[in-house]
């Protein structure tokens, strides 16, 4: 799987491929899936690269940790009884050593964790929902800075 600038990751079965890209500044994060289709989350299971196209300005120097959201994908639709799994990668040292928490927000409800593990949501009502994942300071719950501080996906429960 490969995510460009935090967008919904796309699967690639071949090791080499071409991407048609406009002028811009990019961060590519590639990762592997297990048999259940969830991302492998340990150091070495994934790889990230920054690059530019058309002499775009590079990202500012930034060592802040960030998350890449694997699931849900943008506009993913779920059957009423289907589990909604939030699967993310953490790129940084570790939530505890970095002094951050992962925050998941949906319908005004919040969930905080320092575990890098998938989170299953249940009892979602029918209709569209907006899910946001971000990194916040462990002490103050304030969103940390950085180019990839948060990601938002829209999903639908049918």
């Amino acid at each position: 799987m490969l995510s460009l600038n935090g967008a919904s990751p796309k699967p690639y079965s071949m090791p080499n491929f071409l991407m048609d890209l406009n002028k811009g500044t990019y961060r590519a994060v590639a990762f592997l899936l297990n048999e259940e289709g969830l991302s492998l989350k340990e150091y070495g299971n994934f790889s990230a690269r920054d690059f530019t196209v058309g002499e775009s300005r590079p990202f500012p120097e930034d060592d802040a940790p960030y998350v890449i959201l694997h699931l849900p994908a943008e506009q993913q639709a779920y059957a009423p009884e289907e589990a909604v799994i939030v699967d993310f990668l953490y790129l940084g040292g570790g939530p505890e050593s970095d002094g951050v928490k992962v925050k998941i927000e949906i319908d005004g409800q919040e969930y905080y964790t320092q575990e890098i593990a998938p989170v299953q949501l249940s009892k979602l009502s029918k209709g569209p929902h907006s899910l946001k994942i971000s990194l916040v300071g462990a002490a103050n719950d304030q969103e940390i800075g950085g180019v990839f501080a948060s990601e938002t996906r829209n999903i639908i429960i049918e």
């Binding site: 690639y12 297990n34 492998l40 989350k41 920054d50 998941i104």
Partner: protein, 90 residues
Amino acid sequence: MKFYHNCIGLALVVVAMISCDSSSNKSENLSEEQVTDSIASVEEVVEKISFGQLQAEMNPDAMLDIYNPIGNENFKEGKVSFLLIFETTG
């Protein structure tokens, strides 16, 4: 012979009773299910979304590296070539 007929008759009645009984049970179950269904759907509106942590499966032997782009490169607009290297050390 008459006793034998009576026995068959009794058996038929028993069978009929059992089948009636089970069908009435079925309808009772159905109505119970419908009741719990409607309760559940009412609760769904009120209940909060629950968040549950799943077990993270580990596979430290599976290594993935982006070989191309090598990092901080600049490309011309258009096609950018990617090469991913997958290795397993296990």
